[in-house]
Subunit: 217 residues, 2 copies
Amino acid sequence: MALTTRQFEILTFIQEWIRERGFPPSHGDVAERFGFNRNAAREHLLALARKGEIELSPNDARGIRVLKDASGPRQFELPLFGNIAAGAPLTAPENAQEWLRIDPDLFRPRADFLHRVSGDSMVDAGILDGDLVGIHHQSEAANGDIIAACLLDRRTGYESITLKRYRRRGRQVSLIAENPRYAPIEIDLAKDEAAQELPAFRIAGVMVGLFRTGRPK
Amino acid sequence: MALTTRQFEILTFIQEWIRERGFPPSHGDVAERFGFNRNAAREHLLALARKGEIELSPNDARGIRVLKDASGPRQFELPLFGNIAAGAPLTAPENAQEWLRIDPDLFRPRADFLHRVSGDSMVDAGILDGDLVGIHHQSEAANGDIIAACLLDRRTGYESITLKRYRRRGRQVSLIAENPRYAPIEIDLAKDEAAQELPAFRIAGVMVGLFRTGRPK
DNA sequence: CTCAGTGCTGTGCAAATGCACAGTATCCAA
DNA sequence: TTGGATACTGTGCATTTGCACAGCACTGAG
């Protein structure tokens, strides 16, 4: 759920406080910083907890745990991208939904970002609904690679990422699902370029790994 | 300055508390854990502060900052275990083949170690040969869980870990592959115990996630 | 033998703290 | 127009918590 500006300010304050002192602020500390009542601080914390940003431990002084830490060392972390509105560069670090502490160099070649798979179109490649796939940023791919394909809907202006196996013959590109129940997506690059607009298809990168969390179904 | 065993215990407790809850323990929490007086806890904290292990923020509830984190860069890493010779505790941190920089808390519940899958017996669960599965350490499992089963070969004395779906009816345990080409492994717990030796079967933990690296085949 | 350090019990207190309850005002969507 | 979410003020209370002071027992160094 989206945060209000005030809530975001308070979350940032809590993160900075913890980074500087090693323990979370109390309600009073938050209230003092922003110049309002202790109970107002409490309600902000409850709101942040409702929205899943923090976790509160009842009756414990300073019982705050920040769940999604935006700060900290980004060195061994990977950004997770969802589908974002047109224009916005899909894989710009500042548009990350979340940063996960996974060393990008564990993948080979190195992963640049993660993408959440939705749907079961790649089950036969061992890629399930909800899995996070590691993507190495590159604009070309070899036949047989599984790629993160970036598709632009020219009418709505929305970009979306899909994971498919890539196959190209001349100017004809096929995006093939690893599930017999799904038909391939066919793209004619010649036609695509002739449109003289933004290309409707581009390669965001190739899949270099996968991360799955949770008990299996 | 060197720590006493008691002080080391308390420091470790504080580190674990923070890792699990995101904020430090109070004097009372420490006292309760070790079964002594709140003031005894306070004096231990003062001693740890004198010795430079922690920093105390006066008058602040839970005002503890751990300065030298003994777990160090290991905080966001996971050990990978292979199959090890008999006797050696399979999942003791010092027996790790490798440490991978993946935040254990990304898994739910938290992963304690990774295990490399060999073979294609779990393909239908989206688990491929060479995948690393995250395992949460626990000695019991629910029916349907995918578990890391620890099997001991009594003749050779070798222990090995296999990943299988767990199903138990009374004293009869079935370890089921997710691939029709493999037959389930059947274990009779009654017979197992009657052997009056080390149990041939135990649950090392339950699968809580998966990590795969490399371009798909 | 003495003294410092460790490792506790026990009591008491003031301040810090979480939390419940009662209001007020604004905005926005149904 | 009503209801819910946001964003506060203000009061009061029971606990939690840090902290101080008074002891006791043990150990190891000088």
